[in-house]
Structure formats: C-alpha cells, structure tokens
C-alpha cells in the first residue's frame, strides 16, 4: 500500500454522523441543563450527579482525543514503552479521590485553586490559577490538533481549515453548555467512545486475521508470533528503569494537579458516591485503555506484516487509517464521531476549568464584590477565549498531539499538586512555601523543557524531554522540597508571624478531614515532612545524573 491522502470517500456520510452526534449533545444539554444561574452551577452542576453517570463522565473527561488518535501514534513510534507509560494514567481519579478529593469535596471547593486560596491566600492562588490556565490550554491544544486532524480526514480539507471550522463549532457548543449538560453529555460521550472504538477494532482484527476479534482489548495473543517474526523488538522495554520511574513524578503526580479532573470529583452528590464513581472510572477506563493498546498493536502489526505504509506526518491518524483500510466508510464515519465525542468531552472539561480559574480564582479573588451575573458572564467569555487561544496555538502543532498533553501533566505536577497534597496533609505548609514551590518549580520545569530553551534539556531524547518526563522528575521533587523547607523556616521567623494565618489553616485542615475538634498531633508530622524532603532530594539528584539515552 502506498503513502496516500487518507480521507473518507463520502464526506457527506461523515458530516451526517457528526451532525447527528451534535444534535444529541444539544438535546441532552438542553434537557439536563435548563440554564446555569450561578457560577457554582455552571462549573460543578449543583454537585448532585450519581456515581455511575459521574464515573462515565470522569472517564470521558480523561479519555481525550489522545485515546483515539494520539496514543496509537506514539505506540507506532515508541511501541511497548509508551504502553507502559499510558497504563499508569488510570491512577489519576483513584489517587485524587483518596489523597485529597474527598477532603476538598467536604470543604465545598469547586476547583483545586479554591482550596489553594483558602489554604495559602490570594497571591498563591492567583499564581496557581495562572499556571493552571497554562496547563488547561496546553491540554486543550492537544484536543484541538486532534479535532483538526479528524476534520481534515473527514472532509479532505487542509489542516488549518479543519482546525478553525471544527475548533469553533466545538468551542461554541461548550460555551453555551456549562457543566450540568456537560456531565450528562460526557456520560453519553463515554458510551459512544467505547462503542466506536472497540467494535470497529474487532472488525479490523478480524480483517487482519486475528481470532480474538470478539473481545479485542485482551484477545490478540494469536497475532504475537507473527508480530515477533516481523518485528522482534516490539515488546522490548528499550529504556532504563529510570525512564520508567520518571513516569511517577511526571504523570502520576501530574494527574493529581489537573484542574478539570479534580472538578469531576466535586460533581458527586456525596463522598460515598464520589468513591463509587472512582470504581466505575477504573473499570471503564481500563476497558478502553486496553483496547487502545490493542489498536496500537494492530497498527504496528499491520505495518509490519500487511504492508500498510503510514508516513510519519500521518502517525496521529493511525486509528482512522486502520478503519479506512479495513472497514467500510460508514464505520469510519462512526469512529470519527467517537473521536469528536472524545475531543468535546475533554475540551469542555479544559475550557470550563479555564472559565472557573479566570472568573472564580482570579477575578473574584481580586474583586470579591463583583456581581454574580457579571462573574458568570466573565466565565463564559473566559471559556470562549480559552478555546480560541488553543485554536491559535494549534496552527503550528508539535509532531505528536499527545506531547503537549503530557507536558501539561508535568506542569500541573510541579505547580499545583504539591500545594494541594502537602496543604491537605501538613498543617505547617504556608503561603511562602507554596509561592516558592509554585513559582520556582514552575520556572525550572519550563526552562528544562525543550520548548523554550531547546539546548537546556536533561536527556536529549526529544519525546522524553517533550513529554516532560525528565523535566518533571527534576522539578516535582524540587517543588516539594521548596514547599516544605520554606514553610518550615518561615514558620519559625517571628518577623513573619503576623503575615501567616496559622490558626485558620489548622481549623481548615481539621474540618476538611471531617473533624469537629482540633488536636495538635493531627496532620503535623515532622518525620513525614522530613522523609518527603530526603526522598525528593534523592529523586532530584537522580534526575540530574546522565540518562544514557
């Protein structure tokens, strides 16, 4: 098969499916949303979502266009190491829920920066909010690239036209929607994503000779011998344990700082429901993630054994290309609808987070007397502008759409996650430590990323540096050390005592853990803080040593 222009033969069919999908989203949004009358309702939908719907919505928010397009592209490039990396991403919601989600839910926070404002004060929360806006935009950028690629394949139009047309339609839809409609829609989108990914994958597996096509996520062992014969290195781990370890600070801790994910925990009706949603999330996400590894495997298998040629610039289209080659056009149209559903649900999470960050965490913090109506309007404007900025950034996209998304994980892990984790579990953490950790850690992460100073990188391996694996392995522990050490020192400086709010911090921490009294011994361990500093120092030094890549 020759290198060619991959597009649907009958674009009208694809357009029809997409129009029908959007019609469904609008109807669900209209029926379930009525009208958002307050900022809280816009962002967390009244906090009354059931556990199954919320679990589906959490999965849809998390399972971005990367699932449809990005992961398979990087499996094509990196093979098994990328699968090992992606597996760890399932930990996001479970860890958010057990480490701080239920505490913040008990507090009534509707964004992580809301907690940072109450815990560390205005300055720290505005700094964190600015970083979170950057995180959300980088995350949204990955979705926009995917949407442009999808429209490009769908209509045979240039990438730029696809980006502007597709991007504006989706941003307009989200701006009008809000979170209540978005939660129910995200649940429906999750069902569409799962069906439109797994069923066509079964058909592709059958076409290339796989016998386990009736359960594609796990039953492709019969294709392994042929794969090993054509590509003996497919299952090789390729990189050192250090590379695999770097996944923990960059992606596992990074996911704990993602604003749009944590917000899903706050839409739960109560704590028990939030925990039940986490169980649904793990089951559904595990199913679809396993299917994406199978899709990546089949993609590599098809290129290695079936003569399928995919040029490097078409790597992000692998899933669609496999459908174009092995399935009828109408199936590919459904897959494209699934991809767009994935993009819409994640983008709505990203853009609503930007709206909440700008209107609630920055403007309402600086101008607390602003009217509810004006604040809500500001939220809508921020959502729209966030979308437009991500469209503009996607005009010159990075080589792989997943790269910008995973880089955003690392930035969230450096600038946000330590503030929340340490803030919830250690009373001594204060605003000076938080500001030092967020600003210095954030600057360090940006400096060692290849996007600003391409010559200052830790590994020299483009994808590893670009995804922020190496940068986060250095900057995340540095951020933890700064937060703990600076807090510890400044708490003991009498000249700063008047600038700290020790008593209200203590009361807040006891309250969010569910206590109605205050005990000095709770959440006050010097040993725990000391161990964290020592471990962080060891990891940071390890990150600076040669990576041998």
């Amino acid at each position: 098969m020759e290198n060619q222009n991959w597009q649907l033969e009958n674009p009208w069919m694809g357009l029809g499916v997409i129009l029908a999908t959007f019609l469904l989203f609008y109807i669900v949004g209209f029926v379930s949303n009525r009208k958002s009358t307050s900022a809280r309702e816009l962002y967390v939908g009244g906090s009354n979502t059931g556990s199954f719907v919320n679990g589906l919505a959490m999965s849809a928010t998390y399972m971005s266009l990367a699932t449809f397009l990005g992961i398979t592209a990087l499996i094509l490039r990196l093979q098994v190491p990328f699968i090992m990396l992606w597996i760890s991403l399932i930990l996001a919601i479970p860890l958010i829920t057990i480490i701080y989600g239920t505490s913040l839910r008990r507090m009534g926070a509707f964004s992580p920066t809301h907690f940072i404002r109450d815990r560390y004060g205005k300055t720290a929360s505005i700094i964190a909010a600015l970083f979170m806006i950057l995180v959300s935009i980088m995350y949204a950028l990955g979705q926009m690239i995917g949407i442009a690629v999808t429209f490009e394949t769908l209509l045979g139009i240039p990438y730029l036209t696809g980006l502007i047309v597709g991007g504006l339609i989706i941003v307009g839809y989200i701006t009008v929607g809000g979170m209540a409609g978005a939660t129910n829609n995200a649940a429906i989108q999750m069902v569409i994503i799962a069906l439109m990914f797994i069923v066509p994958l079964g058909a592709i597996m059958k076409a290339v000779g796989g016998t386990g096509w009736y359960f594609p996520p796990l039953l492709y062992a019969d294709m392994v011998p042929a794969m090993l014969e054509s590509l003996p290195t497919f299952f090789d781990y390729q990189f050192s344990p250090k590379w695999y370890f770097s996944i923990i600070p960059s992606l596992t801790i990074g996911a704990l700082g993602l604003p749009h994910l944590a917000m899903r925990v706050y839409t739960a009706s109560n704590l028990k429901s939030a925990r039940a949603a986490m169980v649904w999330f793990a089951f559904i996400l595990g199913l679809v993630f396993s299917a994406t590894y199978a899709m990546g495997f089949v993609g590599v298998y098809a290129t290695a054994t079936q003569g399928l040629v995919i040029s490097p610039e078409d790597a992000d289209k692998l899933t669609i290309i496999l459908n174009l080659v092995y399935n009828p056009d109408w199936v590919t149209a459904l897959v494209i609808a699934g991809a767009i559903s994935a993009g819409v649900s994640t983008l709505s999470g990203n853009l609503l987070a930007i709206g909440a960050l700008l209107s609630q965490d920055i403007v309402a913090t600086l101008k607390p007397n602003i009217s509810q109506r004006l604040n809500l309007r500001l939220g809508f404007v921020a959502i729209f502008l966030g979308g437009v900025v991500s469209i503009l950034l996607a005009i010159q996209p990075p080589a792989f759409l997943v790269v910008s998304i995973l880089w955003a994980f690392g930035l969230a892990g450096v600038t946000n996650a330590p503030l929340i984790i340490v803030g919830v579990w250690w009373k001594e953490a204060n605003k000076f430590g938080a500001i030092a950790a967020s600003v210095l850690g954030g600057i360090l992460y940006i400096v060692v990323s290849p996007f600003v100073f391409p010559s200052i990188v830790l590994t020299g391996h483009a994808v590893t540096d670009g995804m922020g694996l190496s940068g986060a392995m250095l900057a995340v522990p540095v951020s933890f050390i700064l937060l703990i050490v600076v807090s510890f020192i400044t708490n003991r400086m009498p000249s700063l005592a008047s600038k700290l709010t020790k008593q209200s911090d203590i009361e807040l921490i006891e309250r969010i853990h569910g206590w109605k009294d205050i005990k000095a011994y709770r959440y006050n361990s010097k040993l725990g803080a000391g161990i964290t500093v020592v471990l962080s120092a060891v990891i940071a030094v390890w990150a600076l040593m040669p990576w041998g890549m």
């Binding site: 597996i87 479970p94 860890l95 057990i98 695999y244 925990r275 793990a282």
Partner: protein
C-alpha cells in the same frame, strides 16, 4: 486518635499500592523476564492486566475502607460532643 491514625496509614498504604499496581512496567524494567503468559510476553500483559483489574480491585477496597474511616471519624466526633454535653450538665 485511632481514626486519625487509620486515615493516615490508609492513605499512605493505598497510594503506594496504587502506584505499584499502575507501574508494573517499572518492576519489569528492573527485573526483566522472557516468561510467557496467556500467549503474550509476561512483561507486556501483566502490566496491562494489573493496570485494569488490579486498579479496579484496589478502588473497591479503597472505597470501602474510606467509607468506614469516615464513619469512625463521625463516631469520634459524636463521642466528643457527648462528652462536652456531659461536662456542661
């Protein structure tokens, strides 16, 4: 004191358990093996299975224990309020 200790211990142990189960690839990168399981290389399929069913099982355990600790914290709060009421009487 008891519920607090349980809460801290539960959070640390569950976090470590989740990180291990979600990063089985790290363990195989340290201890490589050529073993085969269900027709796949073990180092490929076990991380995938643990990353799905292992994490799923842990969420069930974490949910149940988390709910129980909440109840215990609430019970200690009630005890505290009762003892305050008794003192006031």
């Amino acid at each position: 004191m008891e519920a607090y200790k349980k809460e801290v211990r539960f959070t640390i142990l569950m976090t470590v358990a989740f990180i291990l189960v979600g990063n089985v690839g790290l363990i195989f990168s340290i201890f490589p093996t050529d073993a085969v399981f269900l027709g796949y290389p073990l180092k490929y399929i076990l991380p995938i299975l643990m990353g799905w069913f292992g994490v799923f099982l842990l969420t069930i355990i974490a949910g149940a224990i988390g709910n129980r600790i909440d109840d215990e914290i609430e019970a200690e709060n009630v005890l505290l309020e009762n003892s305050r009421d008794t003192e006031e009487v």
